[in-house]
């Protein structure tokens, strides 16, 4: 089972990364979400896989490692907040810039990145 688990984590990572490398905002968001599933599973599995283990005291002799679970629990919630932030950023970017590119293609008149330097002078 461990091999299958690891394979799934690897596959999700690969899929997430591929989508993260796309040129529009939405696939990037989906990619990040997929990647965060993979990361959560990865972190969770550092407590090793255990079937029918107990997390509640007194239920069984064999306990699942609670520490990675606690860490991943908050990671899931914060991951949601961050995904939401990226999504809203994408929506905002579309309404401000008029496009949903993340590949560095600027709308006409937006100027080059170095224009920020010139403004300061």
């Amino acid at each position: 089972m461990e091999a299958i688990f690891a394979f799934c984590v690897g596959l999700m990572t690969a899929c997430g990364l591929f989508l993260t490398l796309r040129g529009r905002t939405f696939p990037v968001v989906v990619g990040i979400t997929l990647l965060s599933y993979a990361v959560n599973l990865f972190l969770f599995s550092s407590g090793r896989l255990l079937i029918n283990g107990a997390t509640i005291l007194g239920q069984s002799d064999q306990y699942a490692d609670p520490l990675p679970q606690a860490l991943v629990l908050t990671a899931i919630v914060i991951g949601f907040a961050m995904t939401a932030f990226v999504v809203i950023l994408a929506i905002r970017a579309r309404s401000d810039l008029g496009n949903d590119h993340v590949d560095g293609r600027n709308p006409p008149g937006a100027g080059l990145p170095s224009d920020r330097l010139k403004e300061k002078n």
Binding site: L11, L21, G23, N40, S46, L67, R94
Partner: protein
């Protein structure tokens, strides 16, 4: 400890002028002077100890783990400089009181000045090299503020920027040098460094260190070829010039060379670099000074030249030369400060500093003229004045060195030539300004300055005379300890006499005097000669080079930071690949020894579904709705996986987050295009697929390697103590609200901040509200189907009940604040979906920002509550109560904390979704029309 007050008093003093500014100029000046004066008294109180040769050091640990400490000391050199910095600083405060006009903000000026004074003091009394460097940079910053004090004046701004750039760059070089010294010696403690002279000199990196440290010193002390910034810094108010360019800022470089003299000098490299730089600077400064029509310009180049002289002395390598260098540091500070102040008075009382317009002022200000003449004579090296003594020592040393081998004879000759020019420009300063007929068309009718504006010059000129006549009596001891610190050992026998008999140095002096007089009275020829050369404008060159740098930086940024997330992500992944992949090569066996779980059909089909839906997400990623559906399948299987592998809390969390995430992304699809156009070239796709596959492979391998190895966990502690210490049997929840409660508090804070950030982003968003989807189909007319409305309304109380149940049992069974919060959010969102924002607005009056705020407040207060009982932050407390009907019930303070978590999660989720959601309704559009 009292040593620290030497620094603390002036530091506190920086705020005094700002506070006392409103009580009038005199009061402000006195109040400002009070703390530095106390610091000076404190410094002087250590005089006997330093003269006795005791080590006066005070150390305070700062970050002991990193070996960082604050350390202050007073040795001979530090003492001398501290007296100069504070003594002349006090005179400058008095002088500036009369110099500044009503239009200038006196409080601000004094604040900058005292800040600078603190920084300069910090450099000289620091016993730790890094600490010294921090003060070194502080002088750059505060001198920038002082030079640009008249910031309405573009020259002042440019001059300040140039000074800042040059000295700042030098400061970076110095930092590199200091770090290298620290690495070699193994300590930044000055005593340790000063004791490691041989170690440093014999180290392979020695040449690099010398060059870096000298770069710092030369830029600060305006040594050739970095001397160009000093004349432009003359745009500062004159008190600033008198302070920064006589006794302090430019002397910091000299101080640095003197400080490191015992460890870095003594090699051919040091002698050649330092003496040649000093000599060149001496000559260029002295020659150029003669042609400056601006009084302060003349003095600026004269300063450059005298700094060159001191540098040359430090580069000669004999102990006596070091003594002469220290002596000249004192003398130059005294006469140059008084000359700058005199120039300021002339400027102040006549309205101009141009020597072509000034003349015959003797008649109008005889007193000031006398003072200026004495000081200028000291600068020229006239006998009976202090400048003469150190100049004689300088000449004697030039004769007694062999820095340049067989060419060493050139040094005394060139030194005499330089001094002749020094005599010439001193003569010009006196003769052009005070004599030579009636002045014409001065902007103001010249007259003597106020009595107390002259007082600082009185004092300094008196010192010129007194030191010139009784040198041994007045400063013999101070010079001896300071020079002793520079040499780092015993001093040779020397005598401070006015009269050494007829000797070669005296002849050189006489030659320089007559030569200088000859040059001055035949200056017309020289001026015509000099006029043939186009004047190099350092400012233009500087501007040009700054522009050049900016242009290339801009080009680099455009190339490197082109705004493409794809590229950044690609580079990041590539870097991670290298960092992750390389160590894996050393891992010989992937699989560990831990017994593995056998596979059954259910697991296998779950995994297959996960793999297929992941792939489907990628394959159909351009059809966004389908990709989203596939993504939700992945999320659901992930939560099933959590359930399978004994993590019920995680499964619940993942499930509810999944619902919220998908709703969020569906909402996002309303605002974003529903399809992604095909853009990537096949090559790009192949590249991305390759790198993603390799990366996925690596992550999978690492994961497999980890989970097949036996676990050595610290979790036994949590399992053992959850019940007895935290009062709960759900260990995951106890970890969240108790053991690692502080983490959780931080995490819900992040959650709240993210939600507020999103709120802000949405609030100012321009309206972008498509009326149809990408294919031109209008959004459905039936927004709130009847069935959904009715059922969801009935479900609401049930859902809330479930969330309350999950919340309450969380401490002992799977559940808790996070999950309950998410469930509540989903229940409310369902109402939004079923009824719309308008409907809910009238019925649910919840300000989600306040919900987040109260959640964080409750969580924090719970943590603080344990302080009231004398326990550390977030210690939890619990007890068991027997309630009627319900039975035994546990009351734990952790549940209050969990309530905070619950409220924050509800508030954050709803703030995000409800705000975004209301943009999709007609409500928003109507609002905008009214605006």
């Amino acid at each position: 400890m009292s040593l620290f007050w030497i620094l603390l008093l002036p530091l506190l003093g920086t705020v005094v002028p700002l506070l006392t500014d409103r009580f009038g100029r005199t009061a402000c000046a006195f109040a400002t002077a009070a703390l530095p004066a106390m610091a000076l008294v404190l410094v002087l109180s250590h005089l006997p100890a330093v003269f006795d040769g005791q080590a006066v050091v005070a150390t305070m640990p700062w970050i002991p783990l990193l070996g960082l400490e604050l350390s202050v000391h007073l040795d001979g050199l530090a003492l001398l400089f501290a007296i100069l910095v504070l003594g002349i600083g006090l005179l400058i405060i008095l002088y500036a009181r009369y110099y500044l006009s009503d239009k200038d903000s006196m409080g601000l000026f004094y604040a900058y000045l005292i800040l600078f004074m603190t920084a300069m003091l910090g450099i000289v009394v620091s016993h730790n090299l890094l600490q010294m460097w921090v003060f070194w940079e502080m002088t750059s910053v505060s001198s920038f503020l002082l030079i640009s004090f008249w910031n309405h004046n573009s020259d002042a701004r440019k001059g300040a920027r140039m000074a800042m750039t040059v000295t700042g760059l030098g400061g970076l070089a110095l930092l590199a040098g200091v770090i290298m010294i620290g690495n070699i010696v193994g300590s930044y403690d000055l005593t340790a460094v000063l004791n490691s002279g041989d170690l440093l000199r014999e180290h392979a990196a020695y040449p690099v260190i010398v060059v870096l440290v000298l770069l710092g010193a030369f830029t600060k002390s305006a040594q050739f070829p970095f001397h160009f910034w000093l004349p432009y810094a003359m745009a500062a108010p004159t008190p600033v010039s008198a302070y920064l360019h006589s006794a302090t800022m430019v002397k910091a470089g000299i101080f640095l060379m003197a400080r490191f003299y015992p460890v870095l000098s003594g090699t051919e490299l040091w002698f050649v670099i330092v003496s040649l730089t000093g000599l060149t600077t001496l000559l260029i400064g002295a020659y150029t000074a003669l042609f400056k029509h601006d009084l302060k310009g003349l003095l600026a180049y004269s300063t450059v030249s005298h700094l060159g002289l001191i540098t040359l002395l430090l580069g000669m390598g004999s102990d006596m030369a070091a003594v002469a260098a220290v002596f000249h540091i004192i003398n130059h500070a005294i006469f140059k400060a008084s000359l700058f102040m005199a120039a300021g008075i002339i400027d102040h009382e006549t309205g101009t500093r141009d020597m072509r317009r000034l003349s015959g002022l003797w008649k109008y200000m005889p007193y000031t003229a006398t003072l200026a003449m004495v000081a200028a004579a000291s600068m020229a090296g006239v006998p009976l004045l202090n400048g003469f003594l150190s100049k004689e020592m300088f000449f004697a040393e030039t004769l007694d060195q062999s820095s340049l081998g067989s060419l060493s004879w050139m040094i005394p000759v060139l030194a005499t030539v330089g001094t002749a020019f020094s005599v010439a420009y001193s003569l010009r300063f006196i003769h052009d300004v005070f004599f030579g007929g009636e002045p014409e068309e001065l902007p103001k009718q010249p007259h003597e300055p106020p009595r107390y504006m002259r007082l600082p010059i009185d004092i300094l000129v008196a010192l010129c005379l007194l030191v010139g006549i009784w040198p041994a009596l007045l400063i013999g001891n101070l010079l001896a300890v300071a020079a002793g610190a520079v040499v780092g050992g015993d001093l040779p026998d020397y005598g401070l006499y006015i009269w050494h008999g007829f000797n070669l140095p005296l002849l050189m002096s006489a030659l320089a005097m007559t030569g200088g007089a000859y040059v001055y009275f035949n200056r017309e020829k020289l001026f015509t000669f000099q006029a043939q050369f186009p004047e190099a404008n350092a400012n233009l060159i500087f501007d040009k080079s700054v522009k050049w740098v900016m242009k290339h930086c801009a080009r680099f940024i455009d190339w490197f930071e082109n705004g493409s997330l794809q590229r950044y992500a690609f580079l990041l992944i590539l870097l991670a690949l290298v960092l992750l992949g390389l160590p894996l090569i050393d891992l010989n066996t992937t699989a560990g020894l831990r017994p593995q779980i056998p596979v059954d059909a259910v697991m296998l089909s779950g995994a297959a579904l996960l793999a297929l839906s992941s792939l489907a997400t990628v394959i159909w990623h351009r059809k966004r709705l389908i990709a989203l559906l596939m993504l939700s399948v992945v999320g659901l299987i992930v939560s099933l996986a959590f359930a399978l592998f004994s993590a019920p809390d995680l499964a619940l969390t993942q499930l509810s987050v999944e619902v919220v995430t998908i709703i969020l992304l569906l909402l996002a699809l309303f605002f974003l295009p529903q399809n992604t156009p095909k853009e990537s070239s096949p090559r790009r796709v192949a590249r991305d697929l390759t790198i993603a596959a390799i990366f996925g492979g690596i992550i999978g391998t690492i994961n497999y390697a980890i989970i097949t190895r036996p676990l050595d966990s610290i979790s036994d502690f949590f399992l053992d103590n959850a019940k007895s210490g935290g009062g709960g049997t759900n260990v995951v929840n106890v970890i969240l609200v108790d053991f690692r409660g502080f983490d959780t508090l931080g995490e819900i804070t992040v959650l709240g901040i993210a939600a507020l950030g999103i709120y802000k982003l949405i609030a100012r968003m321009g309206l972008f509200k498509p009326t149809s989807d990408d294919d031109g189909r209008p959004w459905t007319e039936d927004k709130h189907p009847m069935m959904l409305s009715v059922i969801s309304q009935g479900l609401l109380p049930l859902a809330l009940l479930v969330s309350a149940y999950i919340f309450l049992r969380g401490h002992n069974l799977p559940g808790g604040g996070f999950i309950a919060g998410l469930v509540t959010s989903i229940a409310i969102i369902q109402q939004y979906i079923a009824h719309g924002v308008d409907w809910l607005k009238d019925r649910l009056k919840l300000d989600y920002q306040k919900v987040i705020g109260s959640g964080l407040l409750i969580a924090t207060l719970t943590g603080l509550g344990s302080w009231a009982f004398g326990y550390p932050f977030l210690t939890s407390w619990y007890d068991y109560w027997t309630w009627p009907v319900i039975g035994e019930f546990e009351v734990a303070s952790a549940i209050a904390f969990d309530l905070g978590v619950y409220l924050t999660v509800v508030g954050a989720t709803m703030l995000i979704l409800a705000n975004l959601g209301q943009h999709t309704t007609t409500e928003r559009a109507r609002e905008t029309e009214h605006q």
